[in-house]
């Protein structure tokens, strides 16, 4: 039972690990999803489109704090980046077309290099959350970290069974990764104060859907509960 793990007051979060606790620190990983310049920094793609990056930017300090706790606790940290090969051979035609309607599509050259193309300045993870050399970075062409990547193989190779998920955006890549983790038998929890959407309404609606039925595809918790859970995981 996970009854000893505290959850925050005032938020209908589920117990931290809904089904089983990790057997030790080695079994727990923090997944940081797509905290890239193009999604959450001034001058990045979303900003160049004239959209508001304040929501996605606002979670950087909370994620930095969680990263710091995770590093000190010695648990695995895995980062993801959404991006495509320079020849765009992994970019579906409809995905490019939909983004080009905004005037600057995936693969086009903008102020931060070619949009969502691997190796370009805008594709990099924001400096505040830069991965350390020993932290795996998974490059993904889709929304889900599990699609066409080595993410699942990496988790299995490392013996990871439990995931805490943070990053952007709530309604898109975070939700996709949580759902897919569940379907593949991982126990995942999303940290509500460490995820955001471009439109707040979509963040709020997604959190309501994820919280339904006691955490439908895993738990919903927050930074404080995560830090407390780290203290409760031994070995």
């Amino acid at each position: 039972m996970s009854a000893g793990l505290p959850v925050s007051a005032g938020s209908p979060v589920s117990a931290f690990w809904p089904v089983t606790k990790p057997t030790g620190r080695h079994a727990l990983a923090l997944a940081v999803i797509d905290m890239q310049v193009d999604f959450c920094a001034p001058g990045g793609w979303v900003d160049q489109l004239g959209e508001d990056v304040s929501n996605t930017r606002a979670v950087i300090p909370a994620i930095a704090a969680v990263l710091d706790h995770a590093r000190r606790a010695g648990i695995r940290i895995i980062h993801t980046r959404e991006g495509h090969l320079p020849d765009l051979s992994d970019l579906p035609a409809n995905k490019q077309w939909r983004t080009r309607v905004h005037g600057l599509g995936i693969g086009d050259r903008g102020a931060t290099g070619r949009i969502l193309v691997r190796g370009e300045p805008g594709w990099q993870i924001v400096p505040e959350l830069a991965p350390r050399l020993d932290e795996p970075v998974v490059d993904k062409p889709g929304k889900s970290a599990f699609y066409a990547t080595d993410f699942e193989a990496t988790l299995h190779a490392l013996g990871v069974t439990h995931l805490a998920i943070v990053g952007v955006t709530t309604d898109c890549c975070v939700q996709a990764t949580l759902r897919d983790a569940y379907e593949r038998g991982f126990e995942a929890v999303v940290l509500e104060d460490c995820t955001a959407a471009v439109e707040r309404q979509n963040h709020v609606a997604t959190m309501e859907i994820l919280k339904a039925y006691g955490g439908r595809w895993g738990g919903v918790a927050n930074s404080a509960a995560f830090v407390a859970a780290l203290g409760g995981v031994h070995g």
Binding site: P18, V19, T20, P92, A93, N94, K95, W97, R98, T99, V101, H102, P141, G142, K143, S144, Y147, A148, D171, C172, A176, R179, D180, Y182, E183, R184, G185, V198, E199, Q201, N202, A205, T206, E208, I209, A212, Y213, G214, R216, W217
Partner: protein
Amino acid sequence: MAEAPLALPAIAAAPYDYPFDGIWSAADTALLLLGFQEVTVDRLQAHAEVAVARSLVEATRAAGISIITTRASLGHGPLALRRAEAADAPPAVGSAGWDLVAALRPRAGETVIDHVGDEAFHASPLEPLLGSRGIRNLILAGLATDGMVHATMRAANDRGFECLVVSNACRGTTVDRHHAILRITMFGNGLFGTVADVSAILRAVKQYVSG
């Protein structure tokens, strides 16, 4: 000589007309019916959505569009116990109410795919089957909007399929969740595809069938 497939007229949809490049035919399109099983239809009170899906089936059959019906099941183990808590939890294989509702049972020769959980591509033959038939356009209907429909549409979208979700042939676990999922689907000029009412699809398909 086989006849070249006739192009179908574009379907009026939001945020963009379907498909994105205007290229679709009976040969490269499938109707995906997701999780219209007796127990789920009852629990979500989705009888109206079944009737809409039935009209879609009749029109697409007449046009020669592939119909692929999926049947979800609960699976096994601790995650199955959690899955069982949702309003749209799929039934165990062979249990009462596991079967498809009578109105949407496939005809001989139409394909049924069984899978565990919410995502019809996961650990199922759906992707190779679509690939072998040369299908790139998917029209989706099913239960629940926030469960299997959205999970499957996300997976299809990552795989490059061009997706149209039929708004009134899907029902959420609540009305608000249904609308929230459609709003998220349409974000950013169609984050996961585009959305239409059944009437827009019937109009396009009937125009095609009547030549």
